[in-house]
């Protein structure tokens, strides 16, 4: 049975259900469960739900240790940038342990962090930094764009035996969506086709999925049918679904909220060029954030971000229906 709930409620529901299902799931981090009225605390108690000091290295490192010792911690990090304080644990500890032990240990750990809060949060709380985690073998990276996926991907992340960076988009926090009740799992590595179309393939993640769908509506009015694909997980990345679409359309626009050289779209472009080149009828076009720290003031913030106008413009460009911008 599905009903409409906000994205953030879907995430919490998944954590709650998984904690009820499995005693080894823990939930800890800064500024959570500070009173006895906390829903998680009431349901699961102080052993499994704990507030931590502002100590990211300890929080994530303890997550690694608790995971090595058989638990399934979900570490609440709030802002993706806070992981930067503890990069060694994220990049050089959690994903290395299993490999370096020759498979003798595992680290089932979820690092939950919001990203992309381009709502006047200025330069240090707005980043889309998922790209830097894509090249770390052993780490998985998840970017839900809908409330249903927010739930299903969190549940899958908690049950996964590997460290998972679960990045939820701050602009989507209150976005409602149909979400199945009860146990609901979305498998990793399966892209979702959000809109079917024959003329061009648009790949987008997180909040930009909505922007791409809005662009597709603009284009439909012009007789252009865009296919919009949401990879949902960047690691593992479902290249097959993307290439299958490109084989149909021959045209590609990649949308990403990150600056180009740190974007997932750069990696996806390289994969398409590698395994889908013969299907291409033209160059791959990327619509990414511009190469600037995200500015505070609204007009400048909007200027650096991808939007439906920029995406539609890029589609017209790859279709040759509009002159290349000067």
């Amino acid at each position: 049975m599905a009903r409409e709930i906000p994205y953030i409620a879907a995430i919490n529901e998944a954590i709650h259900l998984e904690m009820a299902r499995d005693d080894s799931v823990l939930y800890f981090g800064q500024n959570l469960a500070t009173t006895e009225n906390d829903e998680f605390l009431k349901a699961f108690g102080h052993d499994r739900v704990r507030v931590t000091p502002i100590s990211e290295t300890a929080e994530i490192g303890m997550g690694v240790g608790a995971a090595l010792a058989g638990m399934r911690p979900v570490v609440e990090l709030y802002m993706a940038e806070f992981m930067l304080v503890a990069m060694d644990q994220v990049v050089n500890e959690a994903p290395r342990f299993r490999y370096m032990s020759g498979g003798r240990v595992k680290v089932p750990l979820v690092l939950k962090a919001g990203y992309g809060f381009t709502a006047g949060w200025a330069g240090q709380h707005t980043g889309s930094i998922y790209g830097m985690f894509m090249g770390i073998p052993g780490l998985k990276v998840v970017l839900p764009s809908t409330a249903a996926d927010a739930k299903g991907l969190m549940a899958t992340a908690i049950r996964d035996d590997n460290p998972v960076c679960y990045f939820h988009h701050y602009l989507l926090t209150l976005e409602p969506g149909e979400v199945p009740e009860g146990e609901y799992l979305v498998p990793f590595g399966q892209a979702a086709i959000r809109r079917a179309g024959r003329d061009v393939t648009i790949v987008a993640t997180g909040w930009t999925v909505g922007r791409a769908l809005a662009a597709a509506e603009l284009l439909a009015a012009e007789g252009v049918e865009a296919e919009v694909i949401d990879p949902r997980t960047l690691v593992p990345l479902d290249i097959a679904t993307i290439v299958t679409s490109v084989e149909k359309t021959g045209r590609v626009v990649l949308v990403d909220q990150a600056p180009r050289h740190a974007s997932a779209s750069a990696v996806i472009a390289a994969e398409i060029a590698d395994v889908g080149f013969s299907a291409l009828k033209g160059a791959i076009k990327q619509v990414t954030a511009l190469d600037a720290t995200v500015p505070y003031s609204e007009p400048m913030e909007a200027f650096v971000l991808p939007d439906e106008g920029k995406i539609a413009g890029a589609v017209r460009e790859v279709l040759g229906t509009a002159p290349v911008a000067a």
Partner: protein, 340 residues
């Protein structure tokens, strides 16, 4: 903590000798079999009494984590020296199948959950293991081993704060060997520069801090044992500063491929010209010191001690032979174990 009887003391001496002999075999491998050991190895010679005295306090279901200087712990716990040497030689028969090497030994069956090769970063991990133990309520205790240098990492301060706050069942064993790589502790530690023991750091986290002679396994057993008892009873963590003297250099030389690797002289001599400091440490070598103590006390005869030494030499020579004779992993095995 239980009183140590004669058999246990002899067991401790045997383990100290095994660590020493294993490390000697590792060191000699650079000469006997050039090129067999790659990268960087770090030896525990000089810290045997501290390692064995600490681990002698544990129950079989207790757990520990350590650093890249990690050969001594699994040896004491009973991990096969054959599989350890094979790991250091990069062989498929290694304790981690050749994926980790010298710095990343693991033996989960014996409670040794692993190491970090990055200074201080294993401390929060061991703290997380202790959090899991606290929840599990089986009375398990965790030992967290690290060096003096690691105590200047944020990971140290962050972890000790949480452990004390949450009363986690963990003992932080700082093996203070007075050097971080080639820097003397007085050059980089405010407490040391002020003439205070590093154990005073515990005060900032409202936990006990004790300093012990890490060259005396019984003293270490008593100090760590009291901390383990306290942790097991729910009293929370303790910082034990165990003063040891590393008898080898920090590690083998760091050099690009083609340059034969070897162990340089200890930094006291090589960098600081302090030969007498090193010679004094050699005179205080914990292994012969403990042997003399046991013989004087009548716990062990010289003949028995010699027989133990001969057995240990044979055991570790066999480990070298096993490692050398073992096959390398198949190259394509590199893609196993990336994900669980």
């Amino acid at each position: 903590m239980k009183e140590l009887d004669g058999d246990r003391l002899i067991w401790m001496y045997t383990q100290m000798l095994r660590i020493r002999e294993f490390e000697e075999r590792v060191k000699h491998t650079f000469e006997e079999y050039p090129g067999v050991i790659r990268g960087h190895t770090h030896l525990a010679d000089g810290a045997e009494a501290s390692i064995v005295g600490s681990l002698a306090t544990l129950r079989p279901d207790d757990q520990l984590m350590a650093t890249y200087r990690c050969h001594g712990y699994p040896l004491t716990l009973g991990t096969s020296p054959d599989a350890m040497m094979a790991e250091i030689y990069g062989r498929s028969t290694g304790v981690c199948g050749g994926y980790g090497g010298s710095m990343h030994l693991v033996d989960t069956e014996r409670g040794f959950l692993g190491t970090s090769g990055i200074v201080g970063q294993g401390i929060p991990q061991a703290t997380g293991v202790a959090y899991a133990a606290q929840i599990r309520k089986q009375g398990q205790v965790v030992l967290c081993f690290f060096g003096d240098g690691a105590s200047k990492q944020g990971a140290f301060s962050e972890s000790l704060n949480v452990a004390s706050l949450w009363k986690l069942p963990i003992v932080y064993v700082m093996e203070n060997n007075s050097y971080n790589v080639v820097t003397r502790v007085e050059q980089e530690d405010a407490n040391a520069a002020a003439g205070e023991p590093l154990a005073v750091k515990a005060k900032a986290f409202s936990m006990p801090g004790v300093t012990v002679d890490g060259g005396d396994p019984v003293a270490v057993y008593d100090a760590v044992g009291a901390a383990v008892d306290r942790a097991r009873a729910g009293g929370g963590p303790t910082l034990v500063e165990s003063k040891v003297y590393r008898l080898s250099a920090h590690g083998n030389i760091i050099a690009p491929p083609g340059v034969p690797l070897h162990y340089p002289e200890h930094e006291a001599i090589e960098v600081f010209g302090a030969r007498e400091e090193y010679e004094a440490a050699k005179r205080g070598d914990p292994v012969p010191r403990f042997r003399a103590h046991l013989i004087t006390a009548g716990t062990l005869s010289a003949e028995e001690a010699d027989r133990i030494a001969a057995d240990v030499r044979e055991e570790m020579q066999a480990a070298v032979a096993f490692g050398i004779a073992s096959p390398f992993p198949a190259p394509e095995a590199a893609l196993n174990h990336v994900y669980a």
